[in-house]
Amino acid sequence: MNNAQIEIQLIASLVAVACAIPGTFLVLRKMAMISDAISHSILPGLVIGFFITQDLNSPFLILLAALTGVITVVLVERIQKTGLVKEDTAIGLVFPALFSIGVILIAKNANDVHLDVDAVLLGELAFAPFDRLMIAGADVGPKSLWIIGTILSMTIGLLIAFFKELKISTFDAGLAASLGFSPALIHYGLMTVASVTTVGAFDAVGAILVVALMIAPAASAYLLTTNLKKMLGLAISFGVFSAISGYWLAHWLDASIAGSITTMLGLLFLIIYLFAPSKGLIAVMYREKQQRTEVSLLTFLLHLKNHSETRERHVNHLQEHINWQKVRAKTVLDLALKNNMIIIDNNIVSLTQKGDEFTSKAINYIITNEDAQIEDMKDDFFLFRG
């Protein structure tokens, strides 16, 4: 590995971390698509800022572009408030318009602006090490590294300072307001951080891939844990892992680094989506199948408890009357027998003592929704977990 390679991986990792932090809160606050809107609509701010500063790495330009991001959020909210269109339509109307203005500004001033539309979408991570920051004639590293490093340390600082407020306002906005934390302040604070991060990351990974770095690690982490701190930690590690493995994928394929990082994020998400222990697709499908059987079992037991007539308790009644198609009656019958809940005598099914108690407890739980009584049942039955 040469120096440039290390620097690129370092920049990519810092971008990933800087995106994962606000991204986690956006996902939790159901505002993921706002990051899409911001990442597109900062473009005109970036171009206009460039006209003024003539320097893509100027802090002033970053602030100006970030301001466009916040303006986007405000604009979306204002349009939503008019009630003329539905909420998501407002997002969908604002950002393409602003992005188009940006693209047209670039195209009309192609000779003056050294921005290229491909770079807007993809970033130029590969060239990042060549733009060095010189302080007093000494080379202190690539400019992008310093920019994203500064943004990241600010983000981390804010995260630590306001962690409690962020947490409360994310999970219970009403409570936050009653405790005196202005939800609006936290909302716009988060939007500002997301905008600044997007601008800082834009240069490296481009508009749409910022969205991937914000949403995918957080969404993957959310499938594994609901603990906020763990989720942040996981999201950051997923981001960094994808950044580094994505770099090597790009190296191997000789393709876009940003595209490769996103692809790695995609693969990671796919794996977690399928295999996450309790919230992954396979786990969910297995649980649903189990629950189906268990619900059928309970229905069956309850039916036995409710009906003393022998006609209603005949084995054949299962097929005829209860009309089960999804779960074979035999599975249910076997399960009940195995658990000693029923006895079959002359094709007439009756509840055992154990079955009777179990059914009473279960139905009681279902009606009252009180957890304590069924602690011991949770191990045996999916139905009563979570």
Partner: protein, 245 residues
């Protein structure tokens, strides 16, 4: 002589996302009653109606309308969903919404004609909304919107009417207007089933009641079974009148 059974529910169990909300419900609704379904929040009142109408698929059990599965009898059944279940900013007029009640008997592709329009106008007249027929639906008050929904069900000219909280968020005048129409329907021999949450008005409005809380607690004539015992069984010891489901 026993009355005919309009709706029969056998061993019905329904689950949302495989979490059961209705357990082993057996229910017989005789023809010609005006019945309230009462129970606390989350008792599965709306779910019961939706399962009977085939909007939700039950896990177990069966439903029959006059002895046959719902699919074969849909023309005998009309439905008034909860007012909050649709987008009232939808670009359409009151008359248009009421016309939708005729779509079922028209079937696929066939368009409504003069006959359907006449039926819709008559229904609007019946609920006192004829002057508002051309109004965009978002410009109607909550009570007026509810009347439009009722008119849409009346157009279906059914034998059995299912209504999900028709008195929710309506003004006093509308409430009286609606209950009068429901009583008229009963007089005409129709069966009306209403998800209801105002226990105070049950004896005044209805002649039949079903207590529901995940499982069926009791069902029968209001004068026989609308008592403290059943109320306590349904709502628990900390019995409270619920606002809405």
């Amino acid at each position: 002589m026993d009355k005919k059974i309009a709706v029969q529910v056998d061993d019905l169990t329904v689950a949302y996302n495989y979490k059961p909300v209705l357990w082993d419900i057996d229910l017989e609704i005789p023809e010609g009653v005006l019945m309230a379904i009462v129970g606390p929040n989350g008792a599965g009142k709306s779910t019961l109606i939706k399962a009977i109408l085939g909007i939700l698929k039950p896990i177990a059990g069966s439903v029959s309308i006059y002895g046959k599965p719902y699919d074969q009898q849909r023309k005998l059944v009309a439905y008034v969903p909860q007012k909050g279940s649709v987008d009232w900013d939808f670009p359409t007029t009151a008359l248009d919404v009421v016309m939708m009640g005729t779509y079922g008997s028209l079937g696929w592709i066939k368009r409504p004609g003069q006959k359907e329009k006449k039926a819709a106008l008559e229904a609007l007249e019946k609920v006192g909304m004829l002057p508002f027929k051309g109004r965009q639906i978002s410009q109607l008050s909550g009570g007026q919107q509810q009347r439009i929904f009722l008119a849409r069900a009346l157009v279906q000219d059914a034998s059995i009417y299912f209504m999900d909280e028709p008195f929710q968020g309506v003004d006093a005048t509308t409430e009286i207007a609606i209950i009068n129409i429901l009583k008229e329907l009963r007089k005409a021999g129709k069966t009306v089933i209403v998800v209801h949450h105002d226990l105070q008005t049950v004896p005044e409005y209805f002649d039949w009641v079903t207590f529901l809380n995940v499982k069926k607690i009791a069902t029968g004539p209001v004068k026989d079974i609308f008592n403290d015992d059943n109320l306590t069984k349904t709502y628990g010891i900390n019995y409270k009148v619920s606002i809405q489901e």
